[in-house]
Symmetry: C2
Subunit: 156 residues, 2 copies
DNA sequence: GGGCGTTTGTTATAGACGATTACAATTCCC
DNA sequence: GGGAATTGTAATCGTCTATAACAAACGCCC
């Protein structure tokens, strides 16, 4: 029916009694594991809605920055232009995003949420935020703040 | 020449002047961005060595837990058994890992590093650790410790 | 000890995702 | 104006991973 259906990512379980050696000291590995864990929360939040992380990010970015181009969208997502186009095609087919010509630049499209897209992204934001908080409930509010700050600092 | 050559992952750049809306408050997104950034360090560390993150993890795990089975390896990596097998096939073709029959269990193989595999993993660990530290140099030693602890706590 | 469900490795197949390349239209800059 | 750069588009390829099906070996239970 739907062209793509987001699948659950297999969790990276910590096998008891196994020696993880240097992996526990590496930020790269720890971040990967944490990211997969949080992806699980995302998957729950968007179950049955045909939404993947890149799609969610794209909808939020377009909603907050109406009129941006596909190239910029690709740069934000860290994918090539061709991928940004496939994404936009899908959004358009779903009636969530529309391309509008720009008066000053005949090359680039301007991306905008449709009315339906706005409703969808509002709903998604609420769900994703709720599940993100829920999955990270082992952290206190203070710890969560610290974590976000350190991640921000890490990426510069 | 080499069958697979790991490619660099496009970085997720922070486009200046763009509104990221709710994304900055989501652990899932922040973790993803940080993970991609640290993946860049990994890519540098292993340039030209035909090593991907799963391959590195697998080599370290096999080295620290000789005799483990392909199924357990798959569980550690968060991939299906079939994937663990493709991985093991590749290691064997490279002469880094060998499968040995187990006396008590005729189904599962026991995975072991070869002499060459041991040398390779020792070299890789040193390089990856160095680049991991280097890429995260914006963080003080204390901040790095805190970050690792929070990530550990998050995953439970 | 016989039988049945489970686990493991294996193989083949399919799908998702993104990169790469090439091309045409447009814009920018000297 | 004219050449370099940017944008969208299309076609193609490669990599990774899941899924399903199968055979062999194991464990359990009576």
């Amino acid at each position: 029916m739907s062209p793509h259906r987001p699948r659950a990512l297999a969790p990276i379980v910590r096998v008891p009694g196994l020696d993880y050696d240097v992996l526990d000291e590496l930020l790269g590995y720890s971040l990967r594991r944490a990211q997969v864990a949080m992806f699980g929360a995302f998957h729950e939040a968007t179950r049955g809605m045909d939404i993947t992380p890149p799609r969610f990010t794209a909808l939020v970015i377009i909603g907050a920055n109406p009129g941006l181009s596909q190239s910029v969208l690709g740069r934000v997502l860290g994918i090539a232009r061709s991928g940004a186009m496939v994404l936009t095609d899908w959004f358009e087919a779903q009636g969530l995003v529309e391309r509008k010509r720009r008066p000053n630049d005949g090359r680039a499209w301007g991306l905008h949420l449709t009315r339906r897209g706005e409703q969808r992204v509002a709903s998604l934001k609420a769900r994703v935020r709720r599940h993100d908080l829920q999955r990270a409930r082992r952290l206190s509010a203070e710890e969560r703040r610290v974590l976000l700050r350190l991640l921000e600092k890490l990426c510069g």
